[in-house]
């Protein structure tokens, strides 16, 4: 019988004070008061439907993403945790991350979040430069960003991620490096340093900002990587850096093609079904008002991944990791023999993009041209 991968839980909070022009996530402008209690009840109801998919597993990690999860009160989370613990078995070393906006309103809650069991914060700084924050439509300013980080640290969070963007409109290498230095000065354990990309269905897509030239983008990237390496950060995933081995375990589970339940408006899930021997992807109802409507189902879509696509979907995630994925783990999690992808593997090796020993992992060149590498695994 097929061994099931580890299981995580993703919880989506679909509201923001204001939608950022680069954001294509499922987020909606929040009204004066949020239907907090109704939403918590809905999340637990939603989870009840998903419980058969747990199949006896412990929950390794929980991630509260958004939207802006820090808009909800600690009380609300406390009630949610009670409900979650009644339904799920938490692993003893469970990682519980909450995405937080670095505003004053949010920072005030950090200590309370810590008290109820949230043990990791991911703070969406994006930039420290006032003019960039304004262009990015962020509601916080530089001082608030700094205060938020310090508040989190004082509240006892010892596992903090900072989200920082580069390649911002009009940004020079010096601008980007100044942002990076400032972020690093807080000595947090984790950094998600990623290039701004313009996604469809965003304000930026409709009215594209003037982004730096390709050569500048690359120079920024190279300068940043050199700096992070010099400071001893482990560049363990394309855009993720950590110290002391404190990887984002929740994300690593995604990247290693683990399973996750997704609850909340528009949340995605991925589940291996042991009996049916298939992998399914699920999506919940997107609009908050539909999600909160008891007459509407939570589940909006569910499909099993085509056997031809499983290899690609696994590697799309796994090859982002420096370590890639163990061959054994690949076979276990995809349910495929490695032979199934022998042809693209051979092509990738011939192009110098992929190494295969005990694990499958991208070469330096493969990391650099990851999209070229992954495209080899696309079936027609």
């Amino acid at each position: 019988m097929r061994q099931l991968p580890p299981l995580s839980l993703y919880v989506h909070v679909p509201w923001c004070i204001r939608k950022c022009p680069y954001c294509d996530f499922n987020s909606h402008q929040a009204d004066e008061s949020l239907p907090e209690q109704d939403y918590i009840s809905a999340l637990l109801n939603d989870l009840d439907h998903d419980l058969p998919w747990v199949q006896g597993r412990e929950i390794q990690s929980i991630f509260f993403g958004g939207g802006t999860p820090s808009l909800l009160s600690a009380n609300a989370y406390q009630r949610l945790f009670v409900g979650l613990r009644n339904r799920l078995r938490f692993a003893p070393d469970i990682e519980i991350t909450l995405e937080a906006n670095p505003g004053t309103f949010e920072a005030e809650k950090f200590a309370a979040y810590r008290d109820i069991g949230i043990n990791r914060l991911s703070i969406g700084i994006q930039s420290f430069q006032p003019e960039q924050l304004q262009k990015l439509g962020r509601v916080h300013d530089r001082a608030q960003a700094q205060t938020a980080i310090l508040t989190a640290q004082r509240a006892g969070f010892d596992n903090i991620n900072l989200d920082l963007m580069h390649g911002l409109p009009g940004q020079t290498v010096a601008d980007a490096m100044a942002d990076l230095e400032l972020a690093l000065s807080f000595q947090t354990t984790h950094l998600s340093w990623y290039q701004l990309t313009i996604e469809p269905n965003t304000e930026f897509y409709k009215r594209p900002p003037r982004l730096p030239e390709d050569d500048t983008l690359w120079d920024i990237q190279e300068a940043g990587l050199r700096r992070l390496q010099a400071l001893g950060y482990d560049h363990y995933e394309i855009s993720a850096f950590c110290r002391n081995g404190q990887q984002a375990r929740h994300n690593v589970n995604y990247w290693q093609f683990g399973d996750y339940l997704g609850i909340g408006a528009g949340a995605h899930g991925k589940i291996t079904l042991q009996d049916a021997n298939v992998i399914i992807r699920t999506q919940k109802t997107r609009l908050p008002r539909d999600y909160l409507n008891p007459d509407k189902p939570f589940l909006a879509a569910q499909h099993s991944i085509e056997p031809d696509d499983i290899g690609l979907e696994c590697l799309m995630n796994a090859l982002r990791l420096k370590e890639g994925i163990l061959v054994e783990q690949f076979e276990q999690r995809t349910g495929l023999s490695l032979d199934r992808v022998a042809a693209p593997i051979a092509r990738a090796q011939a192009l110098g993009l992929l190494n295969v020993d005990r694990a499958l992992y991208a070469t330096d060149k493969g990391q650099q041209y990851l999209n070229e590498l992954l495209a080899l695994f696309l079936t027609d």
Binding site: Y10, D24, G65, G167, S192, Y194, Q195, L196, T197, E199, D214, D215, W218, Q221, I238, S239, N251, N253, Y254, W255, Y260, G262, A267, H268, K270, R281, Q283, D309, L312, E313, M316, N317, R320, L351, K365, Q367, Q368, Y369, L370, N371, E372, L374, A375, L378
Partner: protein, 599 residues
């Protein structure tokens, strides 16, 4: 059955946009050929491409019964003709079925060069040409000036020209009255053995080959045995009739009439255009003068992007050629592009249309190489070779002399754009033969290298004159010229499909522009790509497509993978439209970059 003296066979000569299709639709309406419900705008352009582009490619006919003001009913056979310069050979075919032609001129714009050329063809073939001034509904219509222009440029009397508007319906019946009164009835002997001319043939998947014919003498009836003079083969006539414009079986076509026959012929080559049909009982009946065989002017290599498509590509070309005798093709093998076909076209528009039809109707992904005209090579041994493919040009050492085709171009241009058009002619190495000022237009006659004219001259002349200048051209001779082959090397490898023949003086300039264009069109890859333009061993221009420094999606959190996958799929789709040369991926458009060096 109509008496000979109640038949009128006519064509319309008109420039694109001068309203021919609208006018013919009006005729059909006036004569009740179609109900209002069936009147789809421009019914005669039946191919999708024709309707979309608003042009006529193939000749078609329609038979209408017109009751004239004198109370008599006439059978009007209208043979439609294509309007674009590429298809002028179809015009002369259509004209040979007629006794008269309407010269339709836009009363706001005036005469266009191609109409002039077609008018001369009609006059040479003995047709009565009746001028018609159309678009009288336009406020800028200036019929007196345009009538004068017709007299000045073409030399026919335009004082009686009917002034009408096909769009508003003004004076449409006057046009028909004028036609009935002045176009002569056909001549011929109804009692003589059958003699009919094939004006056009096309392949219909239900009926087999359908031929549009003009009966000169005698008659054709359903069930008759006929003989085709060119093949010597006999066929039984399964169907005879007319187009109203719907196909209508009449069982008979008499002397002077125009209509279709179906005779169980399976292959278009069994009923070639211009052939004479006679009765199998009188196989010795004389052949009618046919048509000049049309020669392709432009050649290009067409290659399927995926080599698996080669056979379906061949099938598609064969099917297209059933309805397009002017399409020439033969297998070609390119080092860079693999197996494909070298195709000959009447002009660039024809090439575009064929390519579009192949891609659209037959779902093929094709790469087209730069089009070329035929060059002549005189070898040291004294042989003359015709070259329709630059990569097949013999070694420079064996060439005594290169010759390029020269054409005579007639251009009509409003005075205010004369300067632009003359500059363009000079740029294209034109030699002026004549310049006449007539009315408000200038008639220019130039000798130009055909290679310069067929590529983009038509579009350039249009843009140099805000669309008002018009052009007609015909091949006159081959002439010695200092021609060389420009090769393109991608990362050191010569790409045969990118070679072009050009004038020595333009090699450096065009080589530089070409490599720049290629640089824009070839996407950055994982390594530097060097693009060189060379004449023999001498590199005349060079650019480099710098390597892509990375290609990776910045942030990817597991949640929703579908968007990421779409991105990869899009990237892969893009690659499918590219051809791998060595390890370099070259997009389709790059093979036509040479066409854009004059942009």
């Amino acid at each position: 059955m109509s008496q000979l003296d109640h038949i009128r066979n006519f064509s319309i000569i008109a420039h694109i946009d001068h309203g021919k299709s609208t006018l013919s639709d009006r005729f059909i309406q006036v004569c009740g050929g179609l109900s209002d419900r069936e009147m789809q705008a421009q019914v005669l352009d039946s191919m999708d491409i024709e309707r979309e582009r608003g042009i006529t490619i193939k000749a078609q006919s329609v038979t209408l019964d017109y009751t004239a003001r004198n109370g008599e009913t006439y059978q009007l056979n209208f043979i439609d003709t294509p309007g674009h310069v590429d298809f002028s050979y179809e015009v002369s075919r259509s004209l040979s079925a007629c006794e008269g032609a309407l010269l339709v001129v836009d009363a706001a714009q005036g005469v266009e060069a191609q109409s002039v050329a077609n008018c001369y063809t009609a006059i040479e073939q003995g047709l009565e040409v009746r001028p018609v001034l159309n678009k009288m509904d336009l406020p800028q219509a200036d019929p007196d000036r345009v009538a004068q222009e017709i007299e000045d440029i073409i030399g026919i009397d335009a004082t009686e020209a009917v002034r009408c508007s096909a769009k508003s319906g003004l004076n449409i019946e006057d046009v028909l009255e004028d036609l009935v009164a002045h176009v002569p009835a056909p001549e011929g002997d109804p009692d003589a053995p059958l003699q009919a001319l094939i004006i056009d043939s096309w392949f219909d998947s239900y009926l087999g080959v359908v031929s549009l014919v003009r009966v000169k003498n005698g008659e054709i009836r359903k069930g008759d045995k006929i003989r085709l003079k060119s093949t010597g083969r006999d066929h039984g006539v399964d169907g005879v009739g007319i187009f109203t414009p719907k196909r209508k079986e009449t069982g008979r076509l008499g002397t002077g009439e125009v209509g279709y026959i179906v005779a169980g012929i399976k292959d278009i080559h069994g009923a070639p255009v211009g052939d004479t049909i006679v009765s199998a009982k009188h196989p010795d009946t004389a052949i009618l003068p046919g048509f000049k065989k049309v020669k392709p002017q432009v050649y290009a290599g067409l290659f399927p992007v995926s080599s698996d498509d080669f056979e379906s590509f061949r099938d598609a070309l064969e099917k297209l050629s059933l309805n397009d005798a002017s399409l020439f093709f033969e297998p070609e093998n390119s080092d860079a592009l693999g197996f494909g076909f070298r195709c000959g076209f009447l002009g660039m528009l024809h090439m575009e249309i064929i390519q579009e039809r192949l891609e659209r109707e037959y779902d093929l992904d094709l790469i087209t190489t730069a089009p070329t005209v035929i060059y002549q090579v005189l070898t040291r041994k004294g042989d003359i070779i015709e070259v329709d493919n630059p990569s097949k040009l013999p070694d420079a050492g064996t060439i005594e002399e290169m010759r390029e085709p020269i054409c005579e171009a007639n251009i009509l241009v409003p005075e205010q754009y004369l300067g632009n058009v003359i500059s363009l002619c000079i740029e294209k190495r034109g030699v002026q033969l004549d310049m006449q000022f007539t009315g408000s237009q200038v008639a220019l006659k130039y000798e130009l290298p055909l290679g310069e004219v067929v590529m983009d001259f038509f579009d350039r002349i249009k843009s140099a004159s805000r669309g008002f200048a018009s052009l007609d051209y015909s091949f006159v001779r081959f002439q010695e010229a200092p021609l060389v082959r420009l090769d393109v090397l991608v990362n050191g490898d010569r790409v045969d499909a990118l070679a072009v023949i050009m004038h020595r003086d333009s090699v450096r300039r065009r080589g530089a522009i070409l490599t720049e264009k290629m640089k824009e069109l070839i996407p950055r890859q994982m390594f530097d790509v060097a693009i060189q333009a060379a004449m023999g061993n001498q590199v005349v221009a060079r650019t480099t497509v710098k390597a892509l420094r990375k290609n990776v999606t910045a942030k990817c959190y597991g949640g929703d993978v579908s968007r990421k996958k779409k991105l990869l799929q899009k990237q892969k789709e893009g690659k499918k439209r590219m051809k791998q040369i060595g390890n370099v991926e070259i997009p389709q458009e790059a093979f036509l970059a040479v066409l854009r060096v004059d942009d």
